[in-house]
Symmetry: C2
Subunit: 200 residues, 2 copies
DNA sequence: TTCGTCATGTAATGGGTTACATGATTAC
DNA sequence: GTAATCATGTAACCCATTACATGACGAA
């Protein structure tokens, strides 16, 4: 299990909340991570199969395919579904993957982990945030160095490109800082709707 | 040639300027796109091989490997290099890949194309910029819809995630708008060193 | 009855990552 | 003389994408 596919973590994370089948999983993924995160079936189902083979999930309910209910009854019939449930082994795997700070620096992995931060302790959260921050800071430094070194030799488009990247990175760092601050004093919430008396 | 690897375009683009060997190519890639863009050898050399097989590039100079110059002479010796030169076919392929607005919407492809914008006519540039803008605008709309629909059901981390993504997307759009504006009236440049009389 | 959504898969393809392997040249 | 950098590749693995294939269910 060198590098589990990206999907393993979010799938297990969603199954922690409740049993789901593939189709549903995909929608929830979109709801949590944003609509742009559209995984393909050819990616999702194999992941489920892999997880099942690894003992991390198990099939719990499948309504038989072409089995029509006895005429008159309608409760037992239904669309063919394969519902998955996370196992204890899967829970352990999830915890390990989530905590591991190894390769969690890049945007995708960090995003995925952040989406399941509620399953991490405060210390682990801060560790991950700091690590991501360090990575971004390093990237920022490299970008600056690179610009200093090549500014003259690249054209205005490449320049604009790197400049924008630099600004984005700075914005990312500011965001991480915000998250870190909130993590350190949870009381200072975003002052959620100071409504004195009336309801919206 | 359904979907040429991402490297084809930048490799050809760099070779348009001058002949280079693999190792150099990698450095120039970093200089142009930013240091984070570190392609692996296992990716670069196969790309070169593919391009050579497709007739898009050709090897022009290779200093023989273990051939030591006759003792005394030192001019003919050198490190083993395999220098590539772009062919006419390669130029054509490059032009096609650069112009094609098909899948050019995602961040990576757009980045790659922008880096070689100087090889495109103003109309094609604007077309690509507009296309990218439309894509981002669509993403923005989807993000907003998604947030409206799921805001209640996702936790604060996922919320923060999507929120930040939303802001980043807006920032990206603003940047594209800037590029579009500059493209439309090139005179309003960033006032690059207004030097009154002296020649370039 | 037909369309859209729900629902689940398989097969081929292909490229990227990682690790491995090798050796020359330069600078200290 | 040895470490760092230059330089080029190969091999295995694996996952994601794409296209293909199938079929039930609900609504119009």
């Amino acid at each position: 299990m060198k590098q589990p596919g990206v999907l393993e973590l979010p799938v297990l994370g969603l199954l922690k909340e409740r049993d789901m089948h593939g189709y549903e999983l995909r929608k929830q993924l979109g709801a949590m991570l944003g609509p742009f995160w559209q995984v393909s079936w050819g990616s999702l189902y194999p992941t489920l199969r892999r997880l099942a083979k690894a003992g991390a999930v198990e099939k719990v309910e499948m309504v038989a395919p072409r089995r029509r209910a006895a005429r008159g009854g309608k409760a037992t019939t239904g669309r063919r579904k394969t519902v998955y449930r996370i196992t204890q082994q899967g829970e352990d795997m999830f915890a390990l993957m989530l905590e591991e700070t190894g390769a969690a620096v890049d945007h995708e992995h960090f995003t995925l982990k952040l989406a399941f931060f509620r399953y991490l302790g405060p210390e682990a959260r801060l560790a991950l945030l700091e690590r991501r921050r360090a990575y971004l800071q390093d990237k920022l430094a490299q970008l600056k160095t690179n610009l200093r070194e090549y500014r003259e030799r690249i054209d205005s488009y490449a320049l604009s490109l790197q400049n924008h990247d630099l600004l984005s990175t700075q914005s990312d760092i500011a965001w991480i800082d915000e998250l870190i601050t909130k993590e350190r004093n949870p009381n200072l919430g975003p002052a959620p709707e100071a409504r004195p008396t009336s309801s919206p």
